[in-house]
Amino acid sequence: MVDERELIRRSRRKDQQAFEMLVGLKRALAFRIAFNIVGDEDDAKDVAQMSFIRLWSVIDSFDENSRFDPWFYRIVVNLAIDFYRNRQRGPRPVGSPESRGSSDSGGRSDHDDDVAAALPALAMPGADAEVMRAELRRVFNEIAVELAPAQRAVFSLKEIEGVATDDIAKIMGIKASTVRNHLLAARRVLQDGLRRRYPEYFRGSKK
C-alpha cells in the first residue's frame, strides 16, 4: 500500500515518479469535482490535468501538517470555476436545453419524457449502477446549468462529495455564512428545476 504522505513528501522534492503515483491516487477525485462544476467530461478531464500541473508547481508550499485533500480541492475548484466562467455559454451537456435548440415545447423533449419515465427505476439501487449514474449526471447537468459557478461548486462539494461547510469555506476562500447562502440558493434553483422537469420526485416530499 502506497503511503500518501510519503508520496506528497517526495513530490515536494520534485520526485516525478512519486508525483505520478500521487496523480494516480487523486485523479478520480479531481476529475469528479471538476465534472460536477464544469458539467462536461472532456472539459473536466482538462481541468483535472491542469490542476495536477498546477499542483506540481505549488506542492512545495504545502504544509505537511495540514490535510492534503482540502488543499488540493482548492486548486481544482478554482480552476474549474475559472474554466466554467471563461466558457461563454456555460456547460452544454448532451440533452441540455441549450444543446437541443429552441424547438422543444416548454423546454422538454421526447427524450426528456423518456428519461422522466425511466428515472424512478434508474434511481433505484437495483438498476445498473453506471447507467443510473450516467442518467443522473445528465439530469444534474441539465438543471444545474442555471446555477452560478460558485453555487454549483458549493452544492457539488456539500451535497455530492459530503465536504463540511467550514472546509468548503476554506477551499473557496469565502465565509461559512456565504457557503450556506450559496447552498440555499443552489438548492432552491435545483429543486425548482427538478420539480418542473421531474415532478415525480416530489410526490410526498416536503416543499
Binding site: 476529475f31 434511481a123 455530492i160 420526485y201
Partner: protein, 200 residues
C-alpha cells in the same frame, strides 16, 4: 473464504438517522457508512429522496471511470509539467543578445555625440560668448555670406545662467549655401545645443 461485511447501518438505524443525515449532522465516518447503505438499499434510498429530492444526485459521488478513460492522462500532465518548467528556465542566449543590443545602442549614441562635438566646432565661424540664458535672443542675421561658399553660416554662442554653460550652434542654410547664389535670405536654420553638464 470471503464473508459479507456486516451492515452496521441497517434499515431501522438508517431510518432513525435520516433527518440528521440530511441536515449534515452525522459525523463523517458514520455518514460514509450510512451513505453506502442508502445507495445500496432501495427502500432507504427512496425514503431519503422522498425527504430531499436533491439526494437523488448523491450517488454521483460514487462515479468511477473505466481504466481506458485514464489512458494518456499522466503523459499529458507530464508534458504540461515539462513545458511549464521550460518556460521558467532562464534563457542565457536571449538575455546575452539583449545585453549586447543595449551596449551597441549606447556605443552608437556615444559615437554620434562625439562626432558632433568634434565636427561642429570646426564649422564655427564667429563665436559669441556670455549671452545670459534668460531671454535667449534669436540669432543675429548673417550680414555677409562668404562668396560662393556652399557651407552654411554657423554661429556659436555660449549661454549661461551662472552655474553652467550651454553651447548653441546655429547653422543657417541659405540659397547660397545650397545653390551658391549670393544675397539670398536664410531658408533654414539648424540649431544644435550642447549642454556640457549633460551626463550621457
Amino acid at each position: 473464504m470471503s464473508r459479507k461485511p456486516i451492515d452496521l447501518f441497517d434499515c431501522e438505524r438508517v431510518g432513525s438517522y435520516i433527518d440528521s443525515y440530511l441536515l449534515g449532522q452525522v459525523p463523517p465516518p458514520e455518514r460514509r457508512g450510512m451513505r453506502q447503505h442508502i445507495h445500496g438499499c432501495e427502500a432507504c434510498f427512496q425514503k431519503v429522496v422522498a425527504r430531499d429530492p436533491l439526494q437523488l444526485f448523491a450517488p454521483l459521488a460514487d462515479q468511477t471511470q473505466p481504466d481506458e478513460f485514464w489512458e494518456g492522462f499522466w503523459p499529458a500532465i507530464h508534458e504540461g509539467i515539462v513545458r511549464q518548467e521550460a518556460g521558467r528556465r532562464p534563457r542565457p542566449a536571449r538575455d546575452a543578445w539583449r545585453l549586447w543590443t543595449r551596449v551597441a545602442a549606447v556605443v552608437l549614441v556615444a559615437a554620434c555625440v562625439t562626432a558632433a562635438l568634434i565636427l561642429v566646432p570646426r564649422l564655427v565661424t564667429r563665436p559669441v560668448a556670455g549671452v545670459p540664458i534668460a531671454g535667449v535672443p534669436r540669432p543675429a542675421p548673417i550680414a555677409e555670406a562668404p562668396a560662393a561658399s556652399p557651407m552654411p553660416q554657423t554661429v556659436e554662442r555660449v549661454l549661461t545662467d551662472g552655474r553652467r554653460d550651454v553651447q548653441v550652434y546655429t547653422m543657417s542654410y541659405t540659397q547660397d549655401s545650397l545653390q551658391s547664389t549670393r544675397g539670398a535670405a536664410p531658408v533654414a536654420e539648424l540649431v544644435l545645443i550642447v549642454d556640457k553638464g549633460l551626463e550621457l
